[in-house]
């Protein structure tokens, strides 16, 4: 077990009965979160960048866009279809990760350093700059809970954070759960994993978040859930 398995469980717990959820590229944790929520019996309709609609089973590959990774699908639903759904306000859940996220929920997937002469040129924000305005809920995950990833101001606003109208944003990290408070316009610490202290959380991020007491203690993966994650993802792509 690794902290990433707990992050995946945290993501899965954000899903609800009746959700239509979409996963993009480089999103193995999101795919596994949907698989886990469905295993729990939650009625989540699954559409994805591989364009395989409602697969029955999966075997994770290094690409979350691999169509052979999704088994027993009911047909093709394109990303164009999925994004049209979002534009009409009907996509319930979109998953994102980011190199940096800040207090305001702004995401950076573009560059570390200056835009014109970047220290690291990141892949780009893909759908973020518009789904942040049109998905009903965004579930973000961070592989790393650190001062590098949780920053006061992102180096570049690839996708601006939520407004008071939406979307609902949650961020799952290896240590904690944040939820965006539409009233104050900030990420608020709402949960933490067992054995993690609030100090541990705050000292490992570059902004001091508001805290919503009482903090929820997040569930860690069970042995059965880990067995399932290993069955779907035998090569451990989720840890990469």
């Amino acid at each position: 077990m690794s902290s990433m398995d707990n992050v995946i469980k945290c993501m899965a717990q954000q899903l609800r009965d009746g959700d239509i959820a979409y996963t993009g590229l480089a999103s193995v944790p999101a795919v596994l979160a949907i698989a886990l929520a469905r295993h729990w019996g939650r009625d989540v309709t699954f559409i994805n960048v591989a364009e395989i609609y409602e697969p029955k089973d999966m075997i994770i590959k290094v690409s979350s866009g691999d169509p052979t990774s999704f088994i027993g699908g009911k047909g093709i639903v394109t990303s164009l279809d999925a994004f049209d759904l979002a534009r009409r306000g009907l996509l319930d859940v979109m998953f994102f990760s980011a190199a940096q996220v800040d207090r305001r929920g702004n995401m950076n997937l573009s560059v570390i350093g200056s835009y014109e002469k970047p220290r690291v040129r990141l892949p780009g924000g893909a759908a973020a700059a518009y789904l942040y305005r049109r998905a009903r809920r965004v579930i973000m995950w961070l592989k790393e809970h650190s001062r590098r990833t949780l920053v006061e101001h992102v180096d570049f606003v690839t996708a601006p954070g939520p407004t008071k109208y939406g979307p609902h944003l949650t961020v799952c990290t290896p240590k904690a759960l944040f939820e965006f408070d539409q009233e104050v316009g900030e990420l608020v610490l709402t949960g933490l994993f067992p054995g993690v202290t609030v100090d541990d959380i705050i000292n490992n991020m570059a902004f001091k978040p508001r805290i919503k007491e009482p903090l929820r203690i997040l569930e860690t993966v069970t042995a059965e859930e880990l067995r399932l994650l290993n069955r779907w993802d035998p090569d451990g792509v989720r840890y990469s």
Binding site: E51, P67, S110
Partner: protein, 272 residues
């Protein structure tokens, strides 16, 4: 009589001119037009521009090939391997110009191009830092909804690539194409582009479509050239035909990341 659109890969290469903007089919490691990308990488074309939404191997290879001056995409990723290595190197070194777009922008621009209208309204967030950049570049513009003056949105200018290159499953010599499984934005690219090169796993007789009319995905009048290129997506996946060869993709990733030059990188694809 009707001319056949069947041609060799080098004849198809003649349809690409220096300076052309090329839309690349497929996505990440899936159904990339590798046969054609390798041919371009080995050619003497220059100053090409590339456009795609979420490209992968073919796009990255062309980016480091020396044939390309400008690239435009929403995300260039090698997924769980890491950041696309050629893309990262060339952009960080300033050796290619990168127009950072978003999915919504590429889709809207391709739709406008495909539909023959000057632009499409989009749902791009107005306060993304990309808006000012792409407005300055002249490809986006912030305008008002004519039916509700209080609402502002980003209009995306039509994308009309000179060439689209798509790898597909089957085609006849008239250019009628069967494309199985995931489509990505390939049909829009075919419509939006001025010339269309389709490489295929199999060339079929015309009667194939008359006997299986539900197999037609792209009608021949949209297609300029059909090239018979079996395993033409390799090492990316070909839905229903073969899986992605992640070992070769990994080799490419490592070679580029370690700083190999294009000749060395091309060797990754030659020891089949």
């Amino acid at each position: 009589m009707v001319k056949s659109k069947l041609m060799s890969i080098s004849e198809a290469l003649d349809l690409i001119n220096d300076g052309d903007e090329i839309a690349i089919g497929g996505m990440s490691f899936h159904r990339n037009p590798m046969a054609m990308a390798l041919a371009i990488a080995r050619s003497n074309r220059r100053d090409l521009a590339l456009i795609d939404r979420e490209p992968g191997l073919a796009f990255d290879l062309l980016t480091i090939s020396g044939r390309v001056r400008r690239i435009r995409a929403a995300m260039v990723t090698f997924e769980h391997f890491g950041i696309a290595p050629g893309f990262r190197r060339m952009v960080e070194n300033g050796e290619v110009e990168f127009i950072e777009d978003v999915c919504e922008g590429v889709m809207a621009g391709l739709r406008a191009g495909a539909y023959g209208v000057p632009f499409m309204p989009s749902a791009i967030a107005l306060d993304s830092d990309l808006v000012q950049l792409n407005v300055k570049r002249g490809i986006w513009k912030v305008i008002r909804n004519p039916f509700n003056e209080e609402e502002e949105f980003v209009a995306v200018k039509a994308i009309r690539p000179d060439v689209a290159i798509i790898h597909a499953h089957k085609a006849d010599e008239k250019g009628d194409v069967e494309l199985q499984g995931p489509k990505y934005e390939d049909l829009l690219k075919v419509q939006a582009a001025k010339r269309v090169i389709v490489t295929v796993e199999e060339v079929v007789p015309e009667d194939y479509f008359r006997n299986n009319p539900d197999k037609l995905t792209i009608p021949g009048f949209l297609v300029t050239a059909v090239v018979h290129a079996p395993r033409g997506a390799w090492p990316t996946s070909m839905y229903g035909y073969y899986e992605a060869d992640y070992k070769v993709i990994r080799k490419y990733f490592d070679a580029v990341k370690s700083g190999s030059n294009i000749e060395e990188v091309l060797r990754v694809f030659s020891n089949v």
